[in-house]
Symmetry: C2
């Protein structure tokens, strides 16, 4: 991926073509972050569609806070999609380093270890922000405009997929981290914690959505 | 949303801002379809990163088929994201029709019923295509390039979220369909079937991914 191509400036169709291409960047880590950004945007939309409506005035202050928090996560997850692409680009570049002589092999291995730290840390950050979006979705689902309650549900599903997808990206890179990298020891428990958070918050959000959908 | 603004031409940042805005279009139905399109693109990428590699030559014909099928679904889901926005735009337009006189109220109700049929059919189509992407992800997860196995997993998670998100969009619109609309009778069983498909295929894909991730 050329440095000049910021993901956020790419038209959607071009982004999808880029994802689908043989270039490994952007890959699943960026796609997960973008799904989370869409989830955050939907939380903000539900807040927008509720604030100022007479039936929901008692929740106005909460909804304003939820909107601000969601917009912040939307921007952050878009940045994390870019960072994931950069971090993985560094892995690809290290893998392509020459490995004919012993010094070359050592330099390549060192570059790869350093790059792998970024490639694991960025999706862990993405997972934590996606967990926050799930929390926002579970807070807005019971109080947001009922005509948009499905949007709160989609927000939760996208944030859940973003969180779990980011965790897969942490897991695939962990075995390549240097032994002394603290993340290598701390990550397994963190992954288990985040998976439990994903399950619990997504279930809470979707139960609130279910309760407010009319029977067909 | 202005007619000239095709979602596929929007830069990613603008698309997210549009999703987050108080304009209800595009909404969760389009976001779900886009998540499915990203999932399809990732299946195509995993195929691209595997075809022609010596360790995987036995799977080359299958991988070429999977790539072609994934690229087709990617385009289709991008179109469905547009169609969902148009279909919901028609609902919004009908809701804004005048309702001061009895003839106006009748015309508005008729327009709303017609618009709701589209708003339910489009996400049902999205759910069916997302189910196909899940199938492609579960097929590529055991045979694709092991360095990209997390991408196959993210593909499954995004397609699963797309499918379930699309179903929420069908469900919220069903109660508003005309009594004589066949979808109203057929949809509940179809929703149950598609939810079971989502669970089964996502589980199969993620089990294959798990089995191929190195222990950390």
């Amino acid at each position: 991926m050329a440095d000049s191509d910021k993901l956020s400036d790419l038209p959607l169709r071009a982004l999808l073509d880029r994802l689908a291409s043989s270039d490994p960047v952007p890959g699943g880590g960026s796609a997960a972050a973008l799904a989370g950004a869409m989830g955050a945007a939907l939380v903000a939309m539900v807040a927008e569609l509720t604030i100022g409506r007479s039936e929901y005035t008692e929740h106005d202050p909460t909804l304003r806070d939820l909107r601000a928090a969601a917009l912040e996560r939307q921007q952050l997850l878009l940045s994390l999609a870019e960072e994931d692409a950069s971090a993985y680009q560094a892995v690809v570049a290290a893998r392509r380093m020459r490995k004919e002589t012993e010094p070359q092999r050592e330099a390549r291995a060192a570059a790869l270890r350093t790059a792998m730290i970024g490639a694991a840390r960025v999706p862990l950050h993405t997972a934590n922000v996606a967990a926050e979006v799930l929390e926002l979705a579970s807070q807005i689902a019971p109080i947001g405009n009922r005509n948009a309650v499905s949007d709160a549900g989609v927000a939760a599903q996208l944030a859940g997929a973003a969180l779990r997808g980011a965790l897969l990206n942490v897991r695939i890179n962990l075995p390549y981290l240097p032994i002394e990298e603290p993340l290598r020891a701390s990550a397994p428990a963190e992954l288990i914690r985040l998976e439990a958070v994903a399950d619990e918050r997504e279930r809470a959000a979707l139960a609130a959505v279910d309760a407010r959908l009319l029977p067909s």
